[in-house]
Amino acid sequence: MSSQQNGRRPYLPPFRRDWWLQLRFYRLYMLREATVLPLLFFVGWLIYGLYSLGQGPMQWQHWLEFMAKPWVFVLNLLTLAASLFHAKTFFELFPRVMPLAPPGLMIAGQWLGTVVVAIGLIVLLGGYV
């Protein structure tokens, strides 16, 4: 190799597998990405619920009891928190990807939309109309 003849010996440090532990910024990024994990449980149970509904009232009752278990409830709370955190990061990134209006306005608009849709769903599915 010519690089040996002319004294050059570039040193490339190995890329650390724990790179994401090195800085707070990276840890927050990994947390954002990790919000998908509780969501997986949530989706799994949702599908199980749909399946149970198809199997008749017994199975449906069974699913409701399962969902009421404390540890499932806690996991669902965690999912909610993770989704809200993900929403926060997403809403902040979105105006940078699609700069349609001043960022502050876009972020506020997205939160407003979330609240409106959430209330709408509660009203609709909760049987309040």
Binding site: G7, R9, Y11, P13, F25, Y29, E33, L93, V97
Partner: protein, 240 residues
Amino acid sequence: MTQTIVIARYNPEQDEKPHHEAYQVQSDDNTSVLDALQQVQQQDPGLSFRWSCRMAICGSCGVMVNGVPKLGCQTFLRDYPAGLVITPLSNFAVEKDLIVNMEPFLEHLSAIKPWLINTAEGTQPHVQTPKQLAKYQQFANCINCGLCYSACPQFGLNPEFRGPAALALAHRYNLDSRDQGKAQRMPELNAKNGVWTCTFVGFCSEVCPKKVDPAAAINQGKVESAKDMIVSVLKPSGAR
């Protein structure tokens, strides 16, 4: 007052790999990392690092300060009361001390055709309104310092990734109302090492000394890339 700084040293003609050494420097409120490095060089003329303008516009003096990419001239000792460790820019091969091999960066930069593509001849300036200028101006402020490449774990994992500065520059020209070269640049953006390698970690924009926001540019590039791919699927073959 006297402050201790630690510098990563590597002499390829003697050392197996880099090691850290501590130095004493005189500092006051205005002492930059670059000033400190110059002081150390007076004690030890063997120390190599790049620098030139001293005013954060030439992009030469990028280093890692406590693990974060910084321009040496724009980073001040006063902000590091607990001390600082200065290492070469991450994700590039170290040539000597704080000098890294910037060639990969330049290759990526050239690959995206970073020039105005417009075949019309003319002897007068194009018309471009302040609003049209504002669309790309931020992305034209890149000083090619390479800090964003050191901040990007995707580039660290895959050195073939075109990377933040190059993709932001492609986006800058694509957004320019005078440019007609978008069709020529899109294949590079759509390609394996183009915009889709980015996972929006976003640290590139955090460390950018000129607030270029390359992460935004790349992700706007994803929108363009998606449009481009949909169009190419819908259009009958041969029509492109």
